[in-house]
Amino acid sequence: MPAQVLTSVVDGLMLGFVYGVAAMGMTLIWGVMRVINLSHGPLIALGMFGTYFLFTGLGLNPYLGLLLIAVVGLVAGFVIYGVAVHRVINAPYLSSLLATFAVSMMIIGVGTAALSTSPFNVDFSLGSVAAGPLTIPGTRLMAAFAAVLVAGLLYLFLYRTKPGKAIRAVSNNRGAAELMGIPSSRVLALSFGIGTMLAGLAGGLIATFFPFTILSGETYQLKSFVIGVLGGLGNPIGALVGGLVLGLLEGIIPAFMPVSWVPVIEFALFVLVLLIRPTGLLGGRA
């Protein structure tokens, strides 16, 4: 039993890091522009297919492929922002929510037509690392490392660079930031680009160990909401912590009860956090 708990905890944490990256993208967009990005899930799925085509088609190492996915994700984010979100940015939440929902439907529609909904698999293996009772697949270990790296870079970007500080300023008070001469539209576009990039990266990492279809992103989008609320919506570091908490729960609950109890406990916790501490565990943007 202790060995099983240890294995479950480690497995959960590994996955938690990746959940964290997925949630960071969503919570950043919410924090900066108050947009509920319902295209987040399909964008994660596109990241998965990015890894698949770069690896299967071009033989590119999946981790090198992530660099390309990041660039494409950033650009795609700009485009989606410009086409679908910019015009409704000052409208009530429902407008931008529907706009991103439309983007989501378009991606899923085209994706289903072109890629069907049969599962794809990236046939890539790094073997497994064994230590005592633990056996960790190499791809999951790498994904956790990559997730930590991405989170670290995002933190440095937000706190140590000018565009990052501008994002935080706009997030804090858009009107005041504009008065200080910060071009808020560009900052918003950049934030959406980074959010999309993070979705793509999370998808790219997940694709190295789970099979996927164009619909697979929905699960992670749903988890991103829960994680966002857990960690505090609008707080990227909170998202990483929230991801770890969720991963840990998913790992450890099955050690003591049937696996089907996982969502019950997860969502009970979600409601509990909303009731008791609506700003999230680490405090979000109020």
């Binding site: 497995d11 698999n121 050690a255």
Partner: protein
Amino acid sequence: MRKIAVLGLVLLVVSLTIVACGGAPAATQPGAAPAAGQAAAKTGGEKTVTIGFTTSQTGSANLESGRQTNGFKLWLDEINAKGGLKLADGTTLKFASKSYDDESKKDRVQELYTKLVNDDKADFLISPYSSGLADAVAVIAEQYGRVMITAGASSDSTHDKGYSLVYMSYTPASRYLTGALDLLAKLDPNAKKVAIINEKDKFSTDVVTAAKAYAEGKGYQIVTFEGYDTGATDFAPYINKIPAGVDAVIGGGHFADGSTFARQLLEKGIKAKFIALLVAPPEPKFAELGDAALGVIGPSQWEPLAKYSAEGAKAAGVEYYGPKLEDFVTEYKGKYTEEPSYHAAGGYAAGLLLQKAIETAGSTDTQKVKAALDKMDLMTFFGRTKFDTSEKTHGLQLGHDMVYIQWQKGADGKLTKQVVWPEAGKSASALYPAR
């Protein structure tokens, strides 16, 4: 703050709805066969027997049903090319078929089978493909007093409704994995611990519930019994529940989840000596898993590799009937330019079983043919056939065994599929321990 909380809840509901609507990938269930009717018209010493059935020319079961019909048509062409079937009284029977497109839909088949009996005067019926469709038409066969052979259908429950004229040619779902346990018992009498992890759909649940009861009856200890949702991709929580020192892991569901499960079993370093999964392993694509496929066993209704033969029948003490397995494979390939799947073999076998029953009965009379089917115990290229004649589960297949394939390394180091069970049909000995 309150707004955010409310919004969060709304979002959750929206997302859940989207996920629910996204739906799980359609599961392919083991299926059904076309139905034949027998219409005999006397023309002196020659009669024509009409066999009626529907085929899914369109809809979800199109591929499997098409293959089943191909198999049946091959039988039909061959028997007529030989000049028909000569009965003991000197009458020569020629066979004709009548079929319609059932669009893979349950609501159409009852009407179509009624039409086959009443308008097309079908003498015998063969079921449509898939358990659901076959189940729906069974009542029509019974009502109109026509013998029906079901092919491509494996649901046990069709045969607990008191039908007396419906005969199942496939191995029922309840025995999909029991043969694997027999194999395990033979390979390693000391094996005790079995972990069962399966998809939570009806088919897989039925299979493992039966397998669990069977295993416990044989003295195995079930150390894990867990079901996962259709569409699951992360099996780590389930694999972590498999205790060290497990002897066998059985379960699975369909292709996507089964192959992922096999892959993660290897990645997580599970050292099970015996792994048997539903549906996925017999698919050629399963070999793409590489090392994760090695040693994995899977049940199939039939495989071209199986070695059912006259000698095997003799050893089992039953009659061998019909073409040799190699001849069936060659003829099928010649006609349809592809390797026959078990669906195709099932279609041919349905015709063949009917042929044998009519031959034994020496007549096309329903009651006489029924009596012949009740007494039938023989082997064909498709395996053994014997029907349950008890009142409660009449027509259930008792003789036919699943064929168990295992992925093994060939002389060239490449993965190849071998039939390892049953004894009478095996092409190689099982690799044990698998890992």
